[in-house]
């Protein structure tokens, strides 16, 4: 066969043709653009239209951003410097930088204190957020709330120490009594902690020194983004355990506990947060005897925590409901009692399912902390809306301030969201 055409064929290739590059229309950027941007005349038109819109937006925004004035003492001076050209008046950010971050009244020579507390927050939160870190770091996490309180509020260190002592006594008592029964240990611990605080309440004022290492800062002086961070961190970390307890309580077979939890959750979820804040700031003032006033920030923290723990309880109840009945029964058949079954089998799975929902509530809660501006607290939004925009120098500067506020919140919320996605991947044990 092979020699039949040996003479009739002029040329026979004996080696394979080296593969040539695909045609330029089928490769690289051209192919990508053809497939994604100009696959038909209609999509091509849309692409051109979108490009034009992007151009228009950037043509307005970029000169405004890069041509901005960073050094001026008032909006009028900004306009003089710009002299008709487009440009933002970012000088308001430089001049009021401290007020935006720390509020209008926090003592200037003490700014390092909340800053230090902020840095330490990462160290304290790290072992909770990342399981691969050494467990000994949790010890610092346990101390952190008291340390941060002392740093930010100042005053005598004895109060945070007393609070810490109450928890330690409670923990010790719990460890002693829990062997007999969980309820025994739980309530014994609460009683022991209460007694410690009650006795300490008499001792501390008697021995507290006049001069303290850190000067005391009243709650009224807290403000700026610092206040949002304080409220957000404290309320999220408090509402998570309370929410778990409420969710379990709602599923309890004991009618009183169940109905207390149901009524609480349904009541709180049926009331707007702003109503609770108004109650905290104005209505409560009528009920306290004059002179003995509960701290305003504390009142707000209690209200926001109550609010968000009801939501988190419902999210976790969703996680509990998603577990197959067999998991509960398996725990029972192993002979585990209720706390053990919950701690070892049910909650780890339920919480994993609930992560997106919990993060959703946490992000929402963090943004909701700006609502305190309506009860005349100068958080980031309150400080912008009130003092800064009302200053004769800066009245009329809106975009710069609100974009800055949006940027700060975006950084934090995006960070939370990214962490939760990472955590979900870490905990993924199924085969989806």
């Amino acid at each position: 066969m092979s020699d039949t055409h040996a003479q009739s064929v002029a040329f026979v290739r004996e080696t394979q043709i080296p593969p040539s590059d695909p045609p330029s229309s089928q490769t690289g950027a051209v192919k990508w653009m053809h497939e994604n941007l100009f696959s038909s005349w209609f999509y091509g038109l849309l692409t051109l239209l979108s490009l034009y819109v992007i151009y228009v937006v950037l043509a307005g925004f970029l000169p405004w951003l890069f041509n901005g004035v960073w050094q001026a003492s008032s909006i009028r001076e900004c306009r003089e410097v710009l002299d008709g050209a487009t440009g933002g008046c970012f000088a308001v950010l430089t001049e009021r930088w401290n007020q935006l971050l720390f509020g209008i009244a926090y003592p200037q020579d003490s700014y390092w204190r909340p800053l230090l507390a902020f840095v330490l927050l990462f160290i304290a939160a790290a072992p909770v957020l990342f399981a691969m870190l050494p467990r000994q770091m949790l010890l610092f996490t346990a101390i952190y709330p008291f340390l941060a309180f002392w740093l930010i509020w100042g005053g005598t260190i004895l109060w945070p120490l007393l609070a810490l002592a109450g928890f330690i006594v409670g923990y010790v008592v719990f460890g002693r009594l829990v062997k007999q029964s969980f309820a025994y240990g739980f309530f014994g611990a609460i009683v022991a902690a209460m007694i410690t605080w009650w006795i300490g309440g008499f001792i501390v004022p008697a021995i507290a020194p006049e001069q303290t290492l850190l000067s005391a800062v009243p709650s009224r002086d807290m403000g700026g983004f610092m206040l949002n961070m304080i409220l957000g961190t404290v309320c999220v970390s408090l509402s998570l355990p309370i929410g778990i307890v409420l969710a379990l309580g709602r599923q309890s077979s004991m009618p009183i506990i169940k109905w207390i939890c149901v009524v609480y959750i349904e009541f709180i979820r049926g009331v707007p947060l702003i109503t609770l804040l108004f109650v905290a700031s104005v209505v409560l003032a009528y009920f306290f005897p004059p002179g003995s006033n509960l701290d305003l920030v504390l009142r707000v923290i209690i209200m926001i925590t109550m609010f968000s723990s009801a939501y988190i309880a419902e999210v976790i109840r969703g996680g509990l409901a998603a577990l197959p009945r067999g998991q509960y029964e398996a725990a029972d058949s192993l002979g585990l009692d209720y706390p053990q079954a919950m701690r070892l089998i049910v909650l780890p799975q339920a919480l994993k399912i609930s992560i997106p929902g919990i993060v959703n509530v946490a992000v929402g809660l963090f943004k909701d902390t700006t609502l305190v501006s309506v009860i005349s607290m100068f958080d980031l939004v309150g400080a912008i809306r009130g003092p800064i925009l009302a200053a004769t120098e800066w009245n009329g500067v809106y975009w710069e301030l609100w974009l800055f506020a949006a940027l700060l919140f975006f950084i934090v919320c995006y960070g939370i969201s990214q962490y939760s996605q990472w955590l979900e991947r870490q905990l993924a044990t199924d085969h989806r």
Binding site: S74, I75, R76, R79, E95, R96, Q99, I104, A105, Q108, R220, F278, S281, V282, V283, A285, Y286, F287, P289, P290, G291, N293, V374, I375, S376, F378, G382, R385, G386, P387, I388, L389, A390, A391, T392, N395, G396, Y398
Partner: protein
Amino acid sequence: MNKSVVFGALTVAGLAAGAAAAGTLDDVKARGKLNCGVSTGLVGFAAPDASGEWKGFDVAVCRAVAAAVLDDPSAVEFVPTTGKTRFTALASGEIDMLARNTTWTFSRDVDLKFEFVGVNYYDGQGFMIPKELGVSSAKELDGATVCIQTGTTTELNLADFFRANNISYEPVPIETNAEAQQQYLAGACDVYTTDASGLAATRATFENPGDHIVLPEIVSKEPLGPLVRHGDNEWGDIVRWTLNALISAEELGVTSTNVAGLGEKANPETPEINRLLGTEGNLGEMLGLDADWAKRAIAVEGNYGEIFEKNIGESTPIGLARGLNGQWKNGGLLYSPPFR
């Protein structure tokens, strides 16, 4: 039975609050600080500066009272209040006095049980329009679109004014002053209406204030003044006469620069100044203060006229003319009862 317990608790709380309110002057002296309710921020009237120190026309009243009572104009705890929280803050005793551009009305005075001690600014609702509209009177505004803050008395006043003049308008409801500025500049409405002082402050922030005019018509009475709780007349007297001292000082020509000299010793030619500054008579003692109370109040930021000029007057960007807020001798409404 449950109900009666709740009401009982409420009554006790109310009584306790009333009892505490009885001696505000003693409370303030014991505390060493005056708790003064101010706005969370209103251009020219109350706002903290870059270093966090409160400045403004209403703030000056607080400082004058603190100087008169405590001999220290900085011994003031400024409690920022919103339009919603201001009255509860005062009624609950959280603040000793409220100086927050609050309109003196019948129901606030009588029904809410407050005592307005005077008027420190006579305001009224006005209209601002772009110059290019070529309108010179509010009565020519037939068919105009009007930006107006919802839920305020300005909304009702506007409706009254247009109905009385038998002309029509189209309201554009907005929530805050900041929003109003944007809407107005964007041309969403022809007219912006709010208190005249607010209009002036808003206009001052525009890039070209000259392109906009405030029409001469004032369609409502908004007397703004400091107020205290009902039931403590001694304290009310102190705040009232501190304000009157500032107004009288302008009438009598006592300023922050000459108050120290005039108050050194009695000058037989000026008996009223002598009584005001305590070099003659015992007016301070009648108030429960010392003789120098008014001298200290005036020394803080000067008399009424000086405070006005420094914070909202024509030399400031806000540029308000004295108008109704001039002394009665100059055709204004400021008329302090005599110090005698």
